[in-house]
Amino acid sequence: MDFAFLSSTMVTLIRAVPTTLVLFSLSILCGGILALGITALRVSGNPVLSGFAKAYIFVFRGSPLLIQMFLVFYGLGQFGVIRYSFLWPFLREPIVCAVLSLALCTAGYTAEIFRGGIRAVPAKEIEAARSVGMSGFLLVRRIIAPIAFRHALPAYSTEIVLMMKSTALASLVTVWEVTGVAQRLISQTYRTMEVFLCAALIYLVLNFIILQAMNLLEYSLSRHRRPFAPGLRA
């Protein structure tokens, strides 16, 4: 093994990690907020709104992320309305397009996960909340959302790891994140295996950190399922 090459590759790739992390965190944040809205529409009970949410989920989960990203990156600039609008300086930026399409896509998956969480909320607990006079947003905020989020957490962790992998597609719209830099190194050096191993290691470490963080979150949200520990009360 050529350690000098491996370490210089590693250094080059690690320089691209911030870009990957920006893509990741922005799209998880925006996608999560969007997903809340879509979930709200989906469970609203209004056939038009929930129909729209259903169509959204169907489209973004049923087609490849890459084609969605190309549609945003190449497709939007075709329209004069967008080209001459105040948004264009942003939408011209590849990283904005990448975050936008990553967020739109993950929102579809996440909305389904949130809906699954809501369906797992026991009807009895909602009844109990109504019986003490809770309704509307208060009921959602205090009872439904916390329970639903806890139920949705394992599936949401999986989705977040999938998103970390999906940030790699941004390289195809010229955002130089880890996979893009790795691809450039491969075509410069032809040392595919070494570059692959370095890049793979970076992603596995990132996944590991995310999963540990999610486990920690899950643990802290499941105090009610753990045996009673009197020492912790003080």
Binding site: F58, V59, G62, S63, P64, L65, L66, I67, Q68, F70, L71, Y74, G75, L76, G77, Q78, F79, V161, K165, S166, T167, A168, L169, S171, L172, T179, A182, Q183, I186, S187, Y190, T192, M193, F196, A199, A200, Y203, L204, N207
Partner: protein, 241 residues
């Protein structure tokens, strides 16, 4: 030129080109699913085996190929496979560059990824077999091989159908990434058509719609298969039995 002309099946239209590409997408995905089934069965067996080494190998495989971006794995197989092939060529006395065919590289890469997911599906399906049914097979004197063939495999296949449906959808979408190898599947074809006509929006929408058709059709196929396979499980068919 109007949209309907661009999408037509005639000489100036791109319709036929896109449809052929859609068939290529299905072919890559189907080949990948088959490769993944073999890899997945082997990895599931390794993860279920008594040997610590095999279990570690299985665990590493599923962790790596489910945790690393699909695009990187495609690069690994496509570029790595080509350099491997070139090295073999040089050894045999051929000096030039030998490229791995893009279809083979793509199907292999997506297949390897799909194998990691299928391994988990098969493992789950194996655990879904009631232990008592395996004991009954032992008690009647079935050998290991016979138990595998008559009891385990049929039940695993039945329990695996919903999971395999999900893996198929995943692979179908992953196959779009094979476009980076230059294989003219649906994604690449949409790129070519939109690039040549400058009608990006139109062709990516049409390409996306074709993907939606493929995913929803295959969803139906798997749902039907699941219903058929579970006929023996549901009590609703008592009258028809």
């Amino acid at each position: 030129m109007a949209a309907w002309e661009l999408l037509g099946l005639g000489a100036k239209g791109w319709g036929a080109f896109l449809l052929v590409a859609a068939v290529t997408t299905l072919a890559v995905t189907a080949t990948a699913l088959a490769i993944g089934a073999v890899a997945g069965a082997a990895i599931a067996a390794a993860k279920l085996s008594g040997s610590v080494i095999l279990r570690v190998i299985g665990h590493v495989y599923t962790t790596v190929f489910r945790g690393v971006p699909e695009l990187l794995i495609i690069y690994l197989i496509y570029f790595g496979g080509s350099s491997g092939l070139t090295a073999v060529g040089a050894w045999l006395g051929y000096d030039g560059f030998l490229g791995l065919p893009s279809f083979a590289a793509g199907a292999l890469a997506v297949g390897i990824i799909s194998g990691a997911y299928q391994a988990e599906v098969f493992r789950g399906a194996f655990h879904a077999i009631p232990r008592g049914e395996l004991e009954a097979a032992m008690a009647i004197g079935m050998s290991r091989r016979l138990r595998l063939r008559r009891i385990i495999v049929p039940q695993v296949l039945r329990f695996a159908i919903p999971g395999l449906g999900n893996v198929w959808q995943l692979s179908l979408k992953d196959s779009a990434l094979v476009s980076v190898t230059g294989l003219v599947e649906l994604m690449r074809a949409s790129q070519i058509a939109s690039g040549s006509t400058r009608q990006y929006f139109l062709f990516y929408i049409v390409g996306g719609a074709l993907y939606l058709i493929l995913t929803s059709l295959s969803d139906r196929v798997f749902n039907t298969a699941e219903r058929r396979a579970n006929r023996s499980m549901s009590a609703s068919t008592i009258g028809g039995a």
